[in-house]
C-alpha cells in the first residue's frame, strides 16, 4: 500500500467519528449501513474522483456517510452538516433532489442509481466523448431490483469502461440476511456473465480498494464486489440487522467512540 493510501486510514476514522456524532445528535438510524461503506467513500473522494467525475449513491439509505465524507473533503458546509435530520434541512435520511451541488441525484428507492449512472457514463463516452468517469455504489438490497440488471445489460452492451460499480456487500438487507431473503450468490459470476470485469475484495481494505479501482478494464464496465461488515468499527453493531434501524443512546455512543479510539491506537482511559 502506498503512503497516500495508508494515510487514508486517518480519514476513515475522522469520517466515522463525524458520522457517529451526526447520528447520535439526530437520534437517527441507518447506522450499520453507513459504517459499512466509509472506506469505499473515503477512497472514492480522496483518491479516485477527478475533476468532472460523478458519484451516484444508489444505496440512498447510506446518505449520512456520504454527507460526512463530503464534509470531510470540504464539499459540504458546517451549517449544512449541522442541519442533518432537523426540520428545514436539505440533508434528509436519503439524498434530496436539487439540494446540494455535490449530490447530483436523489436516491432512496433502490434500483435507481445504476440506470442513472449508466446514462451519465453513456453520455460521456458515446455522445460527448469526454473523459469523465462515473462511480456508483450499490447495496445488496439494491441488487434485488430488476432495474439494476437492466442497467447491467445496458452498461456491458455499450462497453462503458468509464463506469465503476461498487457493491457494498455487507450481507444484510432490510429484513434479513441476503442469503436468506433473496440470495445473490454466485454474485461475482452474475456480474461476469453480464459482461463486467469483476474484482472481489475486502471492502474495508484501502489497498484492495485501490488495486480494484485504479486500473479500469478496457471496453468493459467494472464491478467491484466489496465484502463489508454492516456496522464496521463499532463492535456492538457489527453484523447485526437491528442497526439498520436503531438510533444510539448515550452509552452506546460512548462505547462506539471507545471502539474507534482503541482501533486507531489511541489511549483509552
Amino acid at each position: 500500500m502506498t503512503q497516500s493510501i495508508t494515510s487514508l486510514v486517518a480519514d476513515t476514522f475522522a469520517i466515522r467519528r463525524k458520522f457517529l456524532r451526526m447520528h447520535f445528535e439526530a437520534r437517527a438510524g441507518h447506522i450499520g449501513t453507513g459504517l459499512s461503506c466509509i472506506e469505499i467513500l473515503a477512497y472514492l473522494y480522496r483518491v479516485w474522483m477527478r475533476e468532472g467525475d460523478q458519484f451516484i449513491l444508489s444505496k440512498g439509505h447510506g446518505a449520512s456517510s456520504l454527507y460526512a465524507t463530503l464534509h470531510h473533503v470540504g464539499r459540504l458546509s458546517d451549517a449544512d452538516l449541522d442541519s442533518y435530520y432537523k426540520n428545514g434541512t436539505l440533508l434528509p435520511a436519503h439524498p434530496a433532489p436539487l439540494a446540494l451541488p455535490a449530490i447530483p441525484a436523489a436516491t432512496g428507492s433502490l434500483g435507481h442509481g445504476l440506470p442513472i449512472a449508466s446514462g451519465m457514463a453513456y453520455s460521456y463516452k458515446h455522445v460527448r466523448s469526454t473523459p469523465q468517469r462515473v462511480a456508483c455504489l450499490l447495496s445488496d438490497g439494491d441488487c434485488n431490483e430488476g432495474s439494476v440488471w437492466e442497467a447491467a445489460l445496458f452498461a456491458a452492451h455499450h462497453q462503458l469502461d468509464n463506469l465503476a460499480v461498487i457493491i457494498d456487500a455487507n450481507g444484510l438487507q432490510g429484513f434479513g440476511r441476503t442469503e436468506d431473503v433473496l440470495g445473490l450468490e454466485p454474485f461475482a459470476d452474475k456480474w461476469k456473465a453480464f459482461g463486467f470485469a469483476v474484482r472481489e475484495i475486502d471492502g474495508h481494505h484501502l489497498g484492495e480498494l485501490h488495486d480494484a479501482l485504479s486500473e479500469p478494464p478496457h471496453r468493459r464496465p467494472l464491478a467491484v464486489i466489496a465484502r463489508t461488515i454492516k456496522g464496521k468499527g463499532v463492535r456492538l453493531m457489527e453484523n447485526k440487522l437491528e442497526w439498520h434501524y436503531l438510533p444510539m443512546n448515550e452509552e452506546q455512543y460512548a462505547e462506539a467512540l471507545r471502539d474507534l479510539d482503541r482501533d486507531e491506537g489511541r489511549v483509552v482511559p
Partner: protein
C-alpha cells in the same frame, strides 16, 4: 400522429446538438432515417423501460435533452417511479413520448391501450403534459416541449385522423384549438386531445354543426385558463359543458376541467370506461363499446340544452 412526431423531433435533433432520441426497441418503419442521420444521438435502449428512463435522467444530468419513445403504457406505467424520482423531482429536460394514447392500438388489446396515462402523470411535480388534437397539431406540441427546461410527456394517437373539420384558431400558448364559434352558445363542447375527433365527427355527420354549440380542443396540462380566455368566455355564456375524453374518468383532464370551470352549471364528461366483459376490435370498435360516439355526444348536447342555464 407518429409520422408527424418523428418528423418534428427529427428537426429538433438536427437543430439541437444536445438532443438525443432514445427508443425502447420500437420504431420499425418510422425511426430508421432518424437513426441513420444521427447515429451518435440515437439510442435503442432495448426492452427495459425502467433502465431507459433512468438512463435518460442520467443523460440529462450531463446536459443532454433526451426524447424517450415507446408505446404509451410502457413508457409511463412501467417506469412511473423513474419518471417521478429520476426525472420529475430533478426537473430534468426529459421529453417522454407515448404512442397509442387511448384506444388507438385497438386490436392489440388491453395491455397496449393507454387509458390512465395522463391520470398517473398529472399529479407529478414539474412535468407538463401534451395531448395533440390531430396530426397537424403534433408539431406545435413538439416545438413547445423542446423549449421547456423541465420534463414533458406527449400522448400520441397512432390513428391517422383525417381533417373532417378544420379549426378556426389555435392559442399559441396553450395550443387550445377552437373548432366552432357561436354568438351566444348553449353548450360548450371540449375535447381532450384526440378525443375532440369524436366531436368533430359529430359536427360533420350528426347535425351538431347546426346546433348552437362552441367546440374546443384542449391539448396541454397544467391548464392555463387565464390564457384560454375564449374558452372561459364560452363557458360563462353557455354554462353547460360537455367534455369528451378518450381516457378513464378518474384522474382525467376532464375531471381537472370540472374543477377549473366552476361557472359551468351543468358539466358532463364522456370518458372511456372498463368492463370485465369487454371485447376487442379496432379503435372505432372500442370507442363504440364504451359509448364514445358522435351520436351519443350529439344526444348529450341535446339533453344539456333542455337543462336550465
Amino acid at each position: 400522429m407518429r409520422v408527424d412526431f418523428v418528423k418534428s423531433v427529427s428537426e429538433i435533433i438536427a437543430e439541437d446538438e444536445n438532443s438525443i432520441f432514445v427508443t425502447g426497441d420500437l420504431g420499425y418503419a418510422a425511426l430508421e432515417t432518424l437513426a441513420a442521420n444521427h447515429p451518435r444521438r440515437f439510442l435503442n435502449a432495448g426492452v427495459a423501460e425502467q433502465n431507459m428512463m433512468g438512463v435518460a435522467a442520467g443523460m440529462a444530468l450531463t446536459g443532454l435533452r433526451p426524447w424517450v419513445y415507446s408505446i404509451a403504457p410502457f413508457t409511463t406505467y412501467r417506469c412511473l417511479e423513474q419518471i417521478r424520482n429520476d426525472v420529475c423531482l430533478h426537473k430534468l429536460p426529459v421529453r417522454i413520448a407515448g404512442n397509442g394514447g387511448g384506444y388507438t392500438y385497438g386490436i392489440m388489446g388491453s395491455t397496449h391501450h393507454a387509458l390512465e396515462d395522463l391520470a398517473v402523470l398529472r399529479p407529478l411535480p414539474n412535468i407538463q403534459l401534451f395531448f395533440p388534437c390531430a396530426n397537424d397539431h403534433v408539431a406545435a406540441a413538439v416545438r413547445a416541449m423542446s423549449t421547456l427546461s423541465g420534463p414533458a410527456y406527449i400522448r400520441l394517437a397512432i390513428s391517422a385522423f383525417s381533417t373532417q373539420w378544420s379549426h378556426l384558431d389555435e392559442n399559441p400558448l396553450t395550443l387550445t384549438r377552437r373548432y366552432s364559434r357561436q354568438a351566444s352558445p348553449s353548450v360548450t363542447v371540449i375535447g381532450v386531445g384526440h378525443g375532440v375527433q369524436i366531436a368533430l365527427r359529430a359536427l360533420a355527420t350528426t347535425g351538431l354543426a347546426h346546433e348552437n354549440v362552441d367546440v374546443f380542443g384542449v391539448a396541454r396540462f397544467p391548464l392555463d385558463l387565464k390564457s384560454d380566455a375564449a374558452l372561459c368566455e364560452s363557458v360563462a355564456a353557455s354554462r353547460r359543458v360537455l367534455v369528451v375524453d378518450e381516457h378513464y374518468l378518474s384522474g382525467s383532464v376532464g375531471e381537472a376541467l370540472r374543477l377549473a370551470l366552476p361557472r359551468a352549471r351543468h358539466f358532463e364528461v364522456m370518458a372511456a370506461s372498463y368492463s370485465p366483459e369487454q371485447r376487442y376490435g379496432n379503435p372505432e370498435f372500442h370507442l363504440r363499446q364504451c359509448g364514445l360516439t358522435p351520436e351519443a355526444l350529439s344526444a348529450l348536447v341535446g339533453d344539456l340544452q333542455t337543462r336550465p342555464a
